[in-house]
């Protein structure tokens, strides 16, 4: 049973969004890391890059697959989680603690297009 955390927003492509003030932390869900298996590499974007909701911003590579990262929201990348460069496996250890990018939100209303914890739990059960 994959972990789902209350209070976060979830995308159908299995990214989570954790909002703090005007910015958001984006990573992949516990369900996603479980499906991928051992993560060996995270292809990170650069700070300052503009991203749009639905746009690819990087990739997560596991021993058996490579999966694109899709941004659930629009904004400007404020920070990237550099610890993932050396320790990509932290995503397997704790996916929700291993955010990948921090984004300054340009349109908070986009969050209403995403799922809450209950809806995402139902989504991954189906």
């Amino acid at each position: 049973m994959s972990k789902v955390i209350e209070g976060l927003f979830y995308a159908e492509s299995h990214e989570f969004v954790k909002v703090e003030g005007d910015s958001a932390f984006i990573g992949i869900t516990d369900y996603a890391q479980n499906q991928l298996g051992n993560v060996v590499y995270v292809d990170l974007p650069e700070v300052g890059d503009e991203i749009a909701a639905g746009e690819e911003f990087g990739a997560v590579e596991s021993v058996k697959a490579a999966s694109d990262l899709i941004s659930p929201i629009s904004g400007t990348i404020e920070a990237i989680n550099e610890t993932l460069e050396d320790k990509p496996e932290s995503i397997n250890k704790d996916a929700f603690a291993s955010w990948i990018i921090q984004v300054k939100l340009s349109d908070k209303s986009e969050l209403s297009n995403l799922m809450d914890a209950a809806a995402y739990t139902k989504f991954i059960e189906e």
């Binding site: 590499y41 590579e61 596991s62 021993v63 058996k64 490579a66």
Partner: protein, 440 residues
């Protein structure tokens, strides 16, 4: 109809048709719409006996002239140690296809690993892939790699001093991959640095491709070029003739991001243009953008050294359309050729090849200029190849060369010839060439 070398006898075919429940091959193909069936006779010559076939090809082969080669331009006449063919023709190597059940073929993986190690050392780079088809396509793959690395840029600069064949392949790839390919001008036989600096400073360039030695044989000075590229997050790509790297400054020393080129010069016979082998080396940090296969060394369950295909998640069969390239294979047999060549020659041997080539080429250049009929086209340092301008009738000169058994001087402009001298050319052969010029 039954043929001597076809595996199926008429009885076999009858049995198979019977199982399928049809009477003849025509019945078997009845599903195929009539209007797309091929109904004409095949446009092939009539059958020949084995003896006739041998005679036919013998006659054809005798039309070839074996000339003393003074031409390079991307394909070089170097010595092939006899041991290479003996090892290469072993059926374990010669008949094996690229390993799909990779780890079952430890021997194949091991020689690819050795190839990678040698190419990385030769280019002074951190990592190498398992080889590419040839130099021009390897260069095009490097162009695509720079675009994949830059994400949002699609402009690539290519020096005008690259071999025109490479430039044409780059143009083809660029056209069909949405890459905007722009030339950097040349000046006195080398890339125009001012033009390069201006264009790269725009900050919209994914990669810059230059050559060393370049098409004219000139050894260009790339001091500071990598820095200018890196300041704008542009990849610096160098195309190098592999053999020359045994003597000249390596892409690693120039701080290049990607080193590519043809490795034909590492003892592979010219063979009318192929098969050759390309190489691609890069930095560790760019390994996931590098196309092609990579073999890694590891330990098996018993702790013994073993070889594996590694980093496959970046490849086309997993990443699909998002992969840098659709290349999932390598040029294995020719990579083995190069591996044996380098192991036989060693560092010292490769250095001697270059020293002999250098002496020969400089001797020829001096002698040609001393006739008064030739002058150096550019004032640049060179290794085994150089361009000269001449006042003589080039077609007449080439005719005289061929009559004397010399294939020399590629015409690259109305009044310019490109000469190459490798360790294969003796002083007598060079003197013969120069005497023809003198007598003209």
């Amino acid at each position: 109809m039954s043929y001597k070398y076809f595996p199926h006898t008429e009885d076999d075919m009858r049995d198979m048709l019977k199982v399928c429940g049809v009477k003849s091959l025509d019945d078997l193909y009845a599903e195929i719409p009539d209007d797309i069936q091929f109904k004409r006779e095949y446009d092939l010559p009539s059958t020949m006996s084995e003896a006739e076939v041998r005679k036919f090809f013998k006659n054809l082969g005798e039309k070839n002239k074996s000339l003393t080669c003074f031409t390079g331009a991307g394909c070089y006449d170097h010595y092939t140690p006899a041991v290479i063919n003996y090892i290469l023709q072993r059926s374990e190597f010669l008949t094996s296809y690229t390993p799909y059940q990779a780890e079952i073929s430890q021997g194949t993986l091991q020689y690819i690993f050795e190839f990678q190690s040698m190419m990385a050392e030769l280019t002074g780079m951190e990592v190498s892939n398992a080889s590419m088809y040839d130099g021009p396509t390897a260069t095009a793959e490097a162009m695509m790699m720079s675009v994949a690395h830059a994400r949002k840029r699609n402009k690539v600069l290519a020096s005008s001093t690259l071999n025109p064949n490479i430039l044409r392949v780059l143009e083809t790839y660029a056209k069909f991959h949405g890459v905007e390919l722009e030339r950097i001008a040349e000046k006195d036989g080398v890339t125009d640095k001012a033009d390069f600096e201006t264009k790269v400073a725009n900050g919209d360039v994914a990669g810059v491709i230059v050559a060393s030695p370049n098409y004219y044989g000139a050894l260009e000075d790339y001091t500071g070029w990598a820095d200018s590229c890196h300041a704008k997050k542009t990849l610096f790509i160098m195309n190098c003739n592999a053999s020359t790297l045994g003597a000249i400054k390596t892409p690693g020393e120039w701080d290049a991001d990607v080193a590519v080129g043809d490795a034909q010069s590492l003892g592979i016979p010219m063979c009318f243009g192929g098969p050759y082998v390309g190489y691609m080396c890069t930095r560790k940090s760019l390994i996931r953008k590098m196309p092609g296969r990579v073999v890694g060394a590891t330990a098996d369950a018993d702790g013994q050294r073993a070889f594996v295909l590694t980093l496959q998640a970046r490849e086309q069969h997993i990443r699909r359309e998002k992969a840098t390239s659709n290349i999932c294979s390598n040029q294995s047999l020719m990579a083995l050729f190069v591996t044996i060549y380098l192991s036989v020659m060693g560092k010292k041997g490769l250095q001697e090849v270059n020293e002999l080539s250098y002496s020969g080429a400089h001797y020829l250049a001096d002698e040609l200029c001393a006739t008064g009929k030739f002058a150096m086209a550019h004032n640049q340092p060179f290794l085994n190849e150089f361009a000269v301008k001449t006042t003589v009738d080039i077609s007449l000169l080439q005719k005289k060369f061929i009559e004397a058994g010399i294939f020399g001087g590629l015409k690259i402009a109305e009044d310019t010839l490109l000469f190459c001298v490798t360790e294969m050319r003796s002083k007598e052969e060079i003197d013969l060439l120069v005497n023809i010029v003198k007598q003209l």
